[in-house]
Protein backbone atom coordinates (compact mmCIF):
# COMPACT_ATOMS: atom_id res chain seq x y z
CA UNK A 1 0.00 0.00 0.00
CA UNK A 2 2.42 2.66 1.18
CA UNK A 3 5.82 3.00 -0.39
CA UNK A 4 7.69 2.48 2.85
CA UNK A 5 6.12 -0.97 3.27
CA UNK A 6 8.59 -2.72 0.98
CA UNK A 7 10.66 -4.21 3.78
CA UNK A 8 8.24 -5.07 6.62
CA UNK A 9 10.89 -6.62 8.87
CA UNK A 10 12.62 -3.21 9.15
CA UNK A 11 9.53 -1.40 10.32
CA UNK A 12 8.62 -0.41 13.85
CA UNK A 13 5.61 0.73 15.82
CA UNK A 14 2.98 2.74 14.01
CA UNK A 15 4.64 2.46 10.62
CA UNK A 16 4.62 -1.31 10.98
CA UNK A 17 0.99 -1.22 12.00
CA UNK A 18 -0.03 1.02 9.12
CA UNK A 19 1.66 -1.33 6.68
CA UNK A 20 0.24 -4.39 8.43
CA UNK A 21 -3.30 -3.07 8.32
CA UNK A 22 -3.11 -2.32 4.61
CA UNK A 23 -1.85 -5.68 3.32
CA UNK A 24 -3.80 -7.35 0.53
CA UNK A 25 -5.26 -9.75 3.05
CA UNK A 26 -6.53 -6.92 5.22
CA UNK A 27 -8.10 -5.33 2.18
CA UNK A 28 -9.90 -8.61 1.54
CA UNK A 29 -11.00 -8.51 5.19
CA UNK A 30 -12.42 -5.00 4.80
CA UNK A 31 -14.15 -5.99 1.58
CA UNK A 32 -15.77 -8.94 3.33
CA UNK A 33 -17.76 -6.50 5.49
CA UNK A 34 -19.34 -5.40 2.23
CA UNK A 35 -20.00 -9.05 1.35
CA UNK A 36 -21.87 -9.54 4.59
CA UNK A 37 -23.94 -6.39 4.10
CA UNK A 38 -24.70 -7.41 0.51
CA UNK A 39 -25.78 -10.84 1.67
CA UNK A 40 -28.11 -9.24 4.19
CA UNK A 41 -29.51 -6.88 1.57
CA UNK A 42 -30.22 -9.75 -0.83
CA UNK A 43 -31.37 -12.28 1.72
CA UNK A 44 -33.93 -10.10 3.48
CA UNK A 45 -36.26 -9.63 0.49
CA UNK A 46 -35.74 -13.20 -0.72
CA UNK A 47 -36.56 -14.61 2.70
CA UNK A 48 -39.58 -12.35 2.86
CA UNK A 49 -40.77 -13.74 -0.45
CA UNK A 50 -40.28 -17.32 0.74
CA UNK A 51 -42.04 -16.50 3.97
CA UNK A 52 -44.89 -14.83 2.16
CA UNK A 53 -45.38 -17.85 -0.09
CA UNK A 54 -45.13 -20.15 2.93
CA UNK A 55 -47.69 -18.13 4.87
CA UNK A 56 -50.13 -17.88 2.00
CA UNK A 57 -49.72 -21.59 1.22
CA UNK A 58 -50.28 -22.60 4.82
CA UNK A 59 -53.55 -20.63 4.86
CA UNK A 60 -54.63 -21.96 1.49
CA UNK A 61 -57.97 -23.65 0.97
CA UNK A 62 -56.27 -26.28 -1.20
CA UNK A 63 -55.21 -29.05 1.14
CA UNK A 64 -51.94 -30.21 -0.49
CA UNK A 65 -50.74 -26.64 -0.77
CA UNK A 66 -51.58 -26.09 2.87
CA UNK A 67 -49.63 -29.19 3.88
CA UNK A 68 -46.61 -28.10 1.90
CA UNK A 69 -46.70 -24.64 3.43
CA UNK A 70 -47.10 -25.92 6.96
CA UNK A 71 -44.47 -28.62 6.60
CA UNK A 72 -41.97 -26.13 5.25
CA UNK A 73 -42.53 -23.67 8.06
CA UNK A 74 -42.58 -26.33 10.78
CA UNK A 75 -39.65 -28.41 9.54
CA UNK A 76 -37.20 -25.67 8.84
CA UNK A 77 -38.07 -23.88 12.07
CA UNK A 78 -37.29 -27.06 13.93
CA UNK A 79 -33.74 -27.45 12.63
CA UNK A 80 -30.82 -25.40 13.98
CA UNK A 81 -29.44 -23.21 11.23
CA UNK A 82 -25.86 -24.53 11.53
CA UNK A 83 -27.02 -28.10 10.98
CA UNK A 84 -29.06 -26.94 8.02
CA UNK A 85 -26.09 -25.14 6.48
CA UNK A 86 -23.90 -28.21 6.83
CA UNK A 87 -25.74 -30.30 4.29
CA UNK A 88 -28.43 -28.33 2.46
CA UNK A 89 -26.15 -26.14 0.30
CA UNK A 90 -24.28 -29.19 -1.04
CA UNK A 91 -27.62 -30.87 -1.67
CA UNK A 92 -28.95 -27.79 -3.47
CA UNK A 93 -25.86 -27.61 -5.63
CA UNK A 94 -26.15 -31.28 -6.53
CA UNK A 95 -29.85 -30.84 -7.16
CA UNK A 96 -29.29 -28.02 -9.65
CA UNK A 97 -26.55 -29.93 -11.44
CA UNK A 98 -28.73 -33.02 -11.54
CA UNK A 99 -31.56 -31.12 -13.22
CA UNK A 100 -29.17 -29.56 -15.71
CA UNK A 101 -27.65 -32.95 -16.39
CA UNK A 102 -31.07 -34.39 -17.18
CA UNK A 103 -31.92 -31.48 -19.43
CA UNK A 104 -28.60 -30.95 -21.18
CA UNK A 105 -27.06 -34.36 -21.60
CA UNK A 106 -29.82 -36.94 -22.03
CA UNK A 107 -27.44 -39.01 -24.10
CA UNK A 108 -25.09 -39.75 -21.21
CA UNK A 109 -26.05 -43.16 -19.87
CA UNK A 110 -23.48 -43.50 -17.11
CA UNK A 111 -24.98 -43.10 -13.65
CA UNK A 112 -24.51 -39.78 -11.89
CA UNK A 113 -23.72 -41.42 -8.58
CA UNK A 114 -20.65 -43.58 -8.98
CA UNK A 115 -19.73 -44.93 -5.60
CA UNK A 116 -19.19 -41.85 -3.51
CA UNK A 117 -18.79 -39.59 -6.47
CA UNK A 118 -21.37 -37.26 -7.85
CA UNK A 119 -20.55 -36.89 -11.53
CA UNK A 120 -22.56 -34.88 -14.02
CA UNK A 121 -21.61 -34.16 -17.60
CA UNK A 122 -19.31 -31.23 -18.30
CA UNK A 123 -22.06 -29.10 -19.75
CA UNK A 124 -24.22 -29.52 -16.66
CA UNK A 125 -21.63 -28.16 -14.28
CA UNK A 126 -22.59 -25.03 -12.41
CA UNK A 127 -20.81 -22.81 -13.24
CA UNK A 128 -19.14 -24.28 -16.30
CA UNK A 129 -15.57 -25.48 -16.51
CA UNK A 130 -14.25 -22.61 -18.40
CA UNK A 131 -16.05 -19.95 -16.42
CA UNK A 132 -13.78 -17.48 -14.68
CA UNK A 133 -13.24 -17.57 -10.95
CA UNK A 134 -15.56 -14.68 -10.19
CA UNK A 135 -18.49 -16.67 -11.54
CA UNK A 136 -17.70 -19.50 -9.16
CA UNK A 137 -17.56 -17.03 -6.34
CA UNK A 138 -20.82 -15.42 -7.36
CA UNK A 139 -22.52 -18.78 -7.66
CA UNK A 140 -21.29 -19.77 -4.20
CA UNK A 141 -22.53 -16.49 -2.84
CA UNK A 142 -25.95 -16.86 -4.44
CA UNK A 143 -26.23 -20.38 -3.06
CA UNK A 144 -25.51 -18.93 0.37
CA UNK A 145 -28.23 -16.32 -0.15
CA UNK A 146 -30.65 -19.07 -1.14
CA UNK A 147 -29.79 -21.20 1.89
CA UNK A 148 -30.23 -18.28 4.25
CA UNK A 149 -33.49 -17.35 2.53
CA UNK A 150 -34.89 -20.87 2.94
CA UNK A 151 -34.10 -20.90 6.66
CA UNK A 152 -35.25 -17.39 7.43
CA UNK A 153 -38.18 -17.66 5.05
CA UNK A 154 -39.59 -20.32 7.36
CA UNK A 155 -39.40 -17.95 10.32
CA UNK A 156 -40.82 -15.10 8.26
CA UNK A 157 -43.62 -17.45 7.18
CA UNK A 158 -44.47 -18.07 10.79
CA UNK A 159 -44.49 -14.36 11.59
CA UNK A 160 -46.58 -13.47 8.54
CA UNK A 161 -49.10 -16.20 9.27
CA UNK A 162 -49.52 -14.78 12.76
CA UNK A 163 -49.94 -11.33 11.25
CA UNK A 164 -52.63 -12.51 8.82
CA UNK A 165 -54.54 -13.96 11.74
CA UNK A 166 -54.12 -10.78 13.74
CA UNK A 167 -56.06 -8.64 11.28
CA UNK A 168 -59.30 -7.88 13.17
CA UNK A 169 -62.17 -10.21 12.22
CA UNK A 170 -64.57 -7.27 12.09
CA UNK A 171 -62.73 -5.74 9.15
CA UNK A 172 -62.91 -8.98 7.20
CA UNK A 173 -66.59 -9.39 7.97
CA UNK A 174 -67.27 -5.83 6.90
CA UNK A 175 -65.49 -6.45 3.61
CA UNK A 176 -67.50 -9.58 3.04
CA UNK A 177 -70.68 -7.68 3.84
CA UNK A 178 -69.71 -5.21 1.14
CA UNK A 179 -69.66 -8.10 -1.27
CA UNK A 180 -65.91 -8.28 -1.89
CA UNK A 181 -64.64 -11.48 -3.47
CA UNK A 182 -62.05 -13.40 -1.53
CA UNK A 183 -59.40 -12.16 -3.93
CA UNK A 184 -60.39 -8.55 -3.38
CA UNK A 185 -60.53 -9.17 0.33
CA UNK A 186 -56.99 -10.51 0.32
CA UNK A 187 -55.42 -7.71 -1.73
CA UNK A 188 -57.40 -4.78 -0.38
CA UNK A 189 -57.90 -5.63 3.27
CA UNK A 190 -55.74 -8.46 4.54
CA UNK A 191 -52.49 -7.61 2.84
CA UNK A 192 -52.31 -3.88 3.64
CA UNK A 193 -53.45 -4.41 7.21
CA UNK A 194 -51.22 -7.37 7.90
CA UNK A 195 -47.91 -5.48 7.71
CA UNK A 196 -48.50 -3.45 10.80
CA UNK A 197 -48.80 -6.67 12.78
CA UNK A 198 -45.90 -8.30 11.02
CA UNK A 199 -43.37 -5.51 11.30
CA UNK A 200 -42.27 -6.13 14.90
CA UNK A 201 -41.75 -9.80 14.19
CA UNK A 202 -39.90 -9.00 11.01
CA UNK A 203 -37.64 -6.53 12.74
CA UNK A 204 -36.86 -9.29 15.14
CA UNK A 205 -36.12 -11.63 12.33
CA UNK A 206 -33.78 -9.10 10.81
CA UNK A 207 -31.92 -8.99 14.11
CA UNK A 208 -31.58 -12.77 14.12
CA UNK A 209 -30.53 -12.80 10.51
CA UNK A 210 -27.71 -10.36 11.18
CA UNK A 211 -26.59 -12.52 14.09
CA UNK A 212 -26.51 -15.59 11.87
CA UNK A 213 -24.08 -14.14 9.34
CA UNK A 214 -20.99 -15.46 11.18
CA UNK A 215 -22.06 -18.86 9.88
CA UNK A 216 -21.41 -17.72 6.33
CA UNK A 217 -17.95 -19.22 6.37
CA UNK A 218 -19.63 -22.62 6.62
CA UNK A 219 -21.14 -21.94 3.22
CA UNK A 220 -17.78 -21.36 1.67
CA UNK A 221 -18.09 -17.60 1.49
CA UNK A 222 -15.01 -15.78 2.71
CA UNK A 223 -16.77 -13.62 5.24
CA UNK A 224 -15.59 -11.47 8.12
CA UNK A 225 -15.26 -14.41 10.51
CA UNK A 226 -13.14 -16.32 8.02
CA UNK A 227 -10.77 -13.40 7.65
CA UNK A 228 -10.73 -12.54 11.33
CA UNK A 229 -9.71 -16.10 12.12
CA UNK A 230 -7.18 -16.19 9.36
CA UNK A 231 -5.62 -12.79 10.07
CA UNK A 232 -5.68 -13.24 13.83
CA UNK A 233 -4.02 -16.63 13.89
CA UNK A 234 -0.39 -16.84 14.89
CA UNK A 235 2.09 -15.96 12.15
CA UNK A 236 5.59 -17.37 12.18
CA UNK A 237 8.44 -15.64 10.42
CA UNK A 238 7.43 -17.38 7.19
CA UNK A 239 5.07 -14.42 6.86
CA UNK A 240 6.08 -10.83 6.24
CA UNK A 241 4.28 -9.64 9.35
CA UNK A 242 4.88 -12.23 12.07
CA UNK A 243 2.78 -11.86 15.21
CA UNK A 244 1.39 -14.03 18.01
CA UNK A 245 -2.24 -15.13 18.14
CA UNK A 246 -4.33 -11.97 17.83
CA UNK A 247 -7.70 -13.56 17.17
CA UNK A 248 -9.22 -12.03 20.28
CA UNK A 249 -8.58 -8.51 18.97
CA UNK A 250 -10.06 -9.29 15.60
CA UNK A 251 -13.12 -10.83 17.16
CA UNK A 252 -13.56 -7.82 19.41
CA UNK A 253 -13.52 -5.75 16.24
CA UNK A 254 -16.31 -7.89 14.82
CA UNK A 255 -18.22 -7.47 18.06
CA UNK A 256 -18.14 -3.70 17.60
CA UNK A 257 -19.30 -4.07 13.99
CA UNK A 258 -22.29 -6.16 15.01
CA UNK A 259 -23.21 -3.82 17.85
CA UNK A 260 -23.17 -0.89 15.44
CA UNK A 261 -25.26 -2.80 12.93
CA UNK A 262 -27.81 -3.62 15.62
CA UNK A 263 -27.92 -0.06 16.80
CA UNK A 264 -28.53 1.30 13.31
CA UNK A 265 -31.19 -1.29 12.46
CA UNK A 266 -33.00 -0.73 15.77
CA UNK A 267 -33.31 2.96 14.97
CA UNK A 268 -34.44 2.33 11.43
CA UNK A 269 -37.16 -0.04 12.54
CA UNK A 270 -38.32 2.35 15.23
CA UNK A 271 -38.86 4.99 12.55
CA UNK A 272 -40.62 2.60 10.23
CA UNK A 273 -42.88 1.54 13.08
CA UNK A 274 -43.77 5.12 13.88
CA UNK A 275 -44.71 5.71 10.25
CA UNK A 276 -46.83 2.57 10.02
CA UNK A 277 -48.64 3.51 13.17
CA UNK A 278 -49.90 6.75 11.71
CA UNK A 279 -53.65 6.61 11.41
CA UNK A 280 -53.85 3.14 12.89
CA UNK A 281 -55.66 4.21 16.02
CA UNK A 282 -53.33 2.14 18.14
CA UNK A 283 -51.30 3.34 21.04
CA UNK A 284 -47.55 3.24 21.07
CA UNK A 285 -47.49 0.85 23.94
CA UNK A 286 -49.38 -1.72 21.94
CA UNK A 287 -46.73 -1.84 19.33
CA UNK A 288 -44.05 -1.84 21.96
CA UNK A 289 -45.55 -5.09 23.16
CA UNK A 290 -45.58 -6.38 19.67
CA UNK A 291 -41.98 -5.44 19.12
CA UNK A 292 -40.63 -7.80 21.66
CA UNK A 293 -38.46 -10.78 21.07
CA UNK A 294 -35.43 -11.44 19.03
Amino acid sequence: MFEFCVEPSQLQGLTWLSCYLTTGKHMAFYTSFGTVLLLLALTAPTALLFGFCGAVASRSAIAPLRWIGRTYVAMVRGVPDIVFFLFVPIALDQGFEYIRHMALCPEVTEPIRRGNDFVVCTAAKLPLNADPQWMHETYGFLLAVLSFAIVFGAFAGNTLRGAFEAVPKAQIETAQAYGMTSRQLFWRILLPQMWIYALPGLSNLWAILTKATPLLFLLGVEDIVYWARELGSMKTSAFSYPHPNWQLWYFLGLLVFYLLLTWVSDRAFARLMARFNLGQGRTGSDTAAAGVGR
Binding site: N116, V119, H136, Y139, R229, E230, A238
Partner: protein
Amino acid sequence: MKSLIKGTVAGMIVSVALSGMAMAQTIRMGTEGAYPPYNFINDAGQVDGFEREVGDELCKRAGLTCEWVTNEWDSIIPNLVSGNYDTIIAGMSITAERDKVIDFTQDYYPASPSFFVAMSGQSVDLKGGVIAAQAATIQAGFVAESGATLVEFATPDETIQAVRNGEADAVLADSDFLAPIVAESNGELEVVGQERIGGGIGMGIRESDGDLKAKMDKAIGSMKADGTLNTMIKKWFGDDAATF
Protein backbone atom coordinates in the same frame (compact mmCIF):
# COMPACT_ATOMS: atom_id res chain seq x y z
CA MET B 1 -12.29 -18.44 -4.15
CA LYS B 2 -13.35 -21.02 -1.80
CA SER B 3 -16.15 -23.05 -1.93
CA LEU B 4 -18.21 -25.40 -0.38
CA ILE B 5 -20.65 -25.04 -2.89
CA LYS B 6 -19.20 -23.63 -5.78
CA GLY B 7 -20.08 -25.17 -8.74
CA THR B 8 -17.04 -26.55 -10.04
CA VAL B 9 -15.14 -26.67 -12.96
CA ALA B 10 -13.48 -28.89 -15.09
CA GLY B 11 -13.72 -31.80 -13.12
CA MET B 12 -15.06 -34.50 -15.05
CA ILE B 13 -12.42 -35.46 -17.30
CA VAL B 14 -15.05 -36.50 -19.70
CA SER B 15 -12.92 -34.51 -21.96
CA VAL B 16 -12.06 -37.04 -24.55
CA ALA B 17 -13.16 -34.49 -27.03
CA LEU B 18 -11.09 -31.79 -25.48
CA SER B 19 -7.89 -33.68 -25.03
CA GLY B 20 -6.76 -33.29 -28.56
CA MET B 21 -7.34 -29.58 -28.55
CA ALA B 22 -4.81 -26.96 -27.64
CA MET B 23 -7.07 -25.47 -25.02
CA ALA B 24 -5.81 -26.35 -21.57
CA GLN B 25 -8.23 -27.98 -19.25
CA THR B 26 -9.09 -26.07 -16.08
CA ILE B 27 -8.58 -27.96 -12.87
CA ARG B 28 -9.70 -26.60 -9.52
CA MET B 29 -7.24 -27.30 -6.74
CA GLY B 30 -8.86 -27.50 -3.31
CA THR B 31 -6.76 -26.59 -0.30
CA GLU B 32 -7.30 -25.42 3.25
CA GLY B 33 -5.17 -22.29 3.32
CA ALA B 34 -4.49 -22.51 7.03
CA TYR B 35 -1.66 -25.00 7.40
CA PRO B 36 1.71 -23.36 6.92
CA PRO B 37 4.12 -24.16 5.48
CA TYR B 38 2.06 -26.62 3.38
CA ASN B 39 -0.57 -24.11 2.40
CA PHE B 40 -1.57 -20.75 3.75
CA ILE B 41 -2.94 -17.42 2.61
CA ASN B 42 -0.08 -14.98 2.17
CA ASP B 43 -0.22 -11.30 2.99
CA ALA B 44 -1.47 -10.50 -0.47
CA GLY B 45 -4.46 -12.77 0.10
CA GLN B 46 -3.28 -15.53 -2.25
CA VAL B 47 -2.84 -19.23 -1.57
CA ASP B 48 0.85 -19.77 -0.95
CA GLY B 49 3.18 -22.40 0.47
CA PHE B 50 4.90 -25.62 -0.46
CA GLU B 51 1.79 -27.11 -2.02
CA ARG B 52 1.07 -24.03 -4.07
CA GLU B 53 4.50 -24.28 -5.62
CA VAL B 54 4.28 -28.03 -6.16
CA GLY B 55 0.73 -27.78 -7.49
CA ASP B 56 1.54 -25.06 -9.99
CA GLU B 57 4.52 -27.04 -11.25
CA LEU B 58 2.42 -30.21 -11.55
CA CYS B 59 -0.22 -28.38 -13.54
CA LYS B 60 2.43 -27.00 -15.85
CA ARG B 61 3.87 -30.44 -16.46
CA ALA B 62 0.45 -32.03 -16.94
CA GLY B 63 -0.61 -29.23 -19.29
CA LEU B 64 -3.52 -28.11 -17.15
CA THR B 65 -4.73 -24.70 -16.09
CA CYS B 66 -5.14 -24.57 -12.34
CA GLU B 67 -7.42 -22.45 -10.18
CA TRP B 68 -6.86 -22.49 -6.43
CA VAL B 69 -9.79 -22.66 -4.07
CA THR B 70 -9.86 -22.93 -0.31
CA ASN B 71 -12.30 -24.96 1.73
CA GLU B 72 -12.83 -25.75 5.40
CA TRP B 73 -10.87 -28.84 6.42
CA ASP B 74 -13.98 -30.53 7.83
CA SER B 75 -15.84 -30.67 4.56
CA ILE B 76 -12.91 -30.91 2.20
CA ILE B 77 -13.62 -34.51 1.09
CA PRO B 78 -17.43 -34.20 0.71
CA ASN B 79 -16.88 -31.20 -1.53
CA LEU B 80 -14.39 -33.07 -3.65
CA VAL B 81 -16.70 -36.01 -4.28
CA SER B 82 -19.53 -33.60 -4.91
CA GLY B 83 -17.48 -32.03 -7.68
CA ASN B 84 -16.85 -28.56 -6.31
CA TYR B 85 -13.16 -28.88 -7.06
CA ASP B 86 -11.09 -31.60 -8.65
CA THR B 87 -8.16 -32.26 -6.35
CA ILE B 88 -7.36 -31.96 -2.69
CA ILE B 89 -3.85 -30.71 -2.15
CA ALA B 90 -3.91 -29.82 1.51
CA GLY B 91 -1.26 -31.74 3.42
CA MET B 92 -3.54 -34.75 3.48
CA SER B 93 -1.86 -37.96 4.62
CA ILE B 94 -2.73 -41.06 2.66
CA THR B 95 -4.74 -43.30 4.99
CA ALA B 96 -6.72 -46.46 4.41
CA GLU B 97 -9.97 -44.82 5.57
CA ARG B 98 -9.66 -41.93 3.16
CA ASP B 99 -8.53 -44.23 0.40
CA LYS B 100 -11.87 -46.01 0.58
CA VAL B 101 -13.69 -42.89 -0.43
CA ILE B 102 -11.27 -41.05 -2.70
CA ASP B 103 -8.15 -41.95 -4.65
CA PHE B 104 -4.68 -40.66 -3.89
CA THR B 105 -1.86 -39.96 -6.27
CA GLN B 106 1.59 -41.17 -5.32
CA ASP B 107 3.02 -39.17 -2.45
CA TYR B 108 4.63 -35.83 -3.22
CA TYR B 109 5.92 -35.47 0.33
CA PRO B 110 7.38 -38.40 2.28
CA ALA B 111 5.85 -39.49 5.57
CA SER B 112 6.99 -37.12 8.28
CA PRO B 113 6.61 -37.80 11.98
CA SER B 114 4.13 -36.09 14.27
CA PHE B 115 5.56 -34.17 17.23
CA PHE B 116 4.40 -33.89 20.79
CA VAL B 117 5.13 -30.33 21.93
CA ALA B 118 4.88 -29.12 25.52
CA MET B 119 6.02 -26.22 27.68
CA SER B 120 9.75 -26.47 28.31
CA GLY B 121 11.01 -28.19 31.42
CA GLN B 122 7.85 -30.07 32.25
CA SER B 123 7.61 -33.80 32.42
CA VAL B 124 4.62 -34.86 30.40
CA ASP B 125 2.90 -38.22 30.49
CA LEU B 126 2.21 -38.73 26.80
CA LYS B 127 0.18 -41.89 27.39
CA GLY B 128 -1.96 -40.63 30.26
CA GLY B 129 -1.85 -36.84 30.22
CA VAL B 130 -4.06 -34.30 28.51
CA ILE B 131 -3.14 -34.04 24.82
CA ALA B 132 -4.56 -31.40 22.49
CA ALA B 133 -5.15 -32.05 18.80
CA GLN B 134 -7.11 -30.51 15.98
CA ALA B 135 -10.48 -32.22 15.57
CA ALA B 136 -10.82 -34.63 12.67
CA THR B 137 -7.10 -35.17 12.13
CA ILE B 138 -5.23 -38.45 12.22
CA GLN B 139 -3.43 -37.13 15.29
CA ALA B 140 -6.76 -36.77 17.13
CA GLY B 141 -7.59 -40.37 16.24
CA PHE B 142 -4.18 -41.49 17.50
CA VAL B 143 -4.55 -39.74 20.86
CA ALA B 144 -8.06 -41.16 21.33
CA GLU B 145 -6.66 -44.65 21.02
CA SER B 146 -3.48 -44.08 23.01
CA GLY B 147 -5.24 -43.84 26.36
CA ALA B 148 -4.32 -40.19 26.90
CA THR B 149 -7.11 -37.65 27.46
CA LEU B 150 -7.90 -36.05 24.13
CA VAL B 151 -8.94 -32.39 23.90
CA GLU B 152 -10.08 -31.39 20.44
CA PHE B 153 -9.99 -27.86 19.09
CA ALA B 154 -11.40 -26.55 15.85
CA THR B 155 -8.19 -24.92 14.61
CA PRO B 156 -4.49 -25.82 14.97
CA ASP B 157 -3.80 -22.43 16.56
CA GLU B 158 -6.08 -23.20 19.45
CA THR B 159 -4.19 -26.41 20.18
CA ILE B 160 -0.94 -24.47 20.66
CA GLN B 161 -2.74 -21.91 22.75
CA ALA B 162 -4.13 -24.70 24.94
CA VAL B 163 -0.60 -25.83 25.74
CA ARG B 164 0.55 -22.29 26.50
CA ASN B 165 -2.32 -21.57 28.86
CA GLY B 166 -2.13 -24.91 30.60
CA GLU B 167 -5.37 -26.41 29.36
CA ALA B 168 -3.43 -29.28 27.81
CA ASP B 169 -0.11 -30.89 28.76
CA ALA B 170 1.03 -31.29 25.18
CA VAL B 171 -0.12 -30.94 21.62
CA LEU B 172 0.21 -33.60 18.94
CA ALA B 173 0.48 -32.34 15.38
CA ASP B 174 2.51 -32.67 12.25
CA SER B 175 6.20 -31.99 12.84
CA ASP B 176 6.45 -29.59 9.91
CA PHE B 177 3.69 -27.46 11.34
CA LEU B 178 5.10 -27.45 14.87
CA ALA B 179 8.83 -27.13 14.17
CA PRO B 180 8.83 -23.42 13.19
CA ILE B 181 6.52 -22.59 16.07
CA VAL B 182 8.82 -24.27 18.56
CA ALA B 183 11.84 -22.63 16.99
CA GLU B 184 10.30 -19.17 17.36
CA SER B 185 8.94 -19.60 20.87
CA ASN B 186 12.21 -18.41 22.51
CA GLY B 187 12.58 -21.68 24.33
CA GLU B 188 9.11 -21.56 25.78
CA LEU B 189 8.00 -24.69 23.95
CA GLU B 190 9.90 -27.90 23.28
CA VAL B 191 9.43 -31.15 21.42
CA VAL B 192 8.88 -33.91 23.96
CA GLY B 193 8.24 -36.85 21.73
CA GLN B 194 7.44 -38.04 18.27
CA GLU B 195 5.27 -40.61 16.65
CA ARG B 196 4.88 -41.98 13.15
CA ILE B 197 1.27 -41.71 12.12
CA GLY B 198 -0.01 -42.06 8.60
CA GLY B 199 1.82 -42.34 5.35
CA GLY B 200 3.14 -39.77 2.99
CA ILE B 201 1.11 -36.88 1.65
CA GLY B 202 -0.65 -37.32 -1.65
CA MET B 203 -3.13 -35.47 -3.76
CA GLY B 204 -6.74 -36.55 -3.30
CA ILE B 205 -8.75 -37.14 -6.47
CA ARG B 206 -12.24 -38.50 -7.11
CA GLU B 207 -12.33 -42.24 -7.74
CA SER B 208 -14.14 -41.69 -11.01
CA ASP B 209 -11.40 -39.37 -12.21
CA GLY B 210 -8.85 -41.91 -13.36
CA ASP B 211 -7.47 -39.70 -16.14
CA LEU B 212 -6.59 -36.86 -13.83
CA LYS B 213 -4.99 -39.25 -11.36
CA ALA B 214 -2.84 -40.74 -14.11
CA LYS B 215 -1.75 -37.31 -15.30
CA MET B 216 -0.86 -36.14 -11.82
CA ASP B 217 0.93 -39.39 -10.99
CA LYS B 218 3.03 -38.96 -14.07
CA ALA B 219 3.80 -35.33 -13.26
CA ILE B 220 4.77 -36.16 -9.69
CA GLY B 221 6.95 -38.97 -10.98
CA SER B 222 8.78 -36.63 -13.31
CA MET B 223 9.29 -34.05 -10.54
CA LYS B 224 10.74 -36.77 -8.34
CA ALA B 225 12.99 -37.99 -11.11
CA ASP B 226 14.58 -34.66 -11.97
CA GLY B 227 14.98 -33.54 -8.38
CA THR B 228 12.76 -30.44 -8.53
CA LEU B 229 10.50 -31.89 -5.85
CA ASN B 230 13.42 -32.36 -3.45
CA THR B 231 14.54 -28.79 -4.08
CA MET B 232 11.10 -27.51 -3.20
CA ILE B 233 10.92 -29.67 -0.06
CA LYS B 234 14.28 -28.28 1.07
CA LYS B 235 13.16 -24.73 0.35
CA TRP B 236 10.02 -24.95 2.46
CA PHE B 237 10.94 -27.46 5.16
CA GLY B 238 14.64 -26.85 5.66
CA ASP B 239 17.70 -28.83 4.70
CA ASP B 240 17.04 -31.57 7.25
CA ALA B 241 13.66 -32.51 5.80
CA ALA B 242 13.21 -36.01 4.47
CA THR B 243 13.38 -36.12 0.70
CA PHE B 244 12.87 -38.69 -2.03
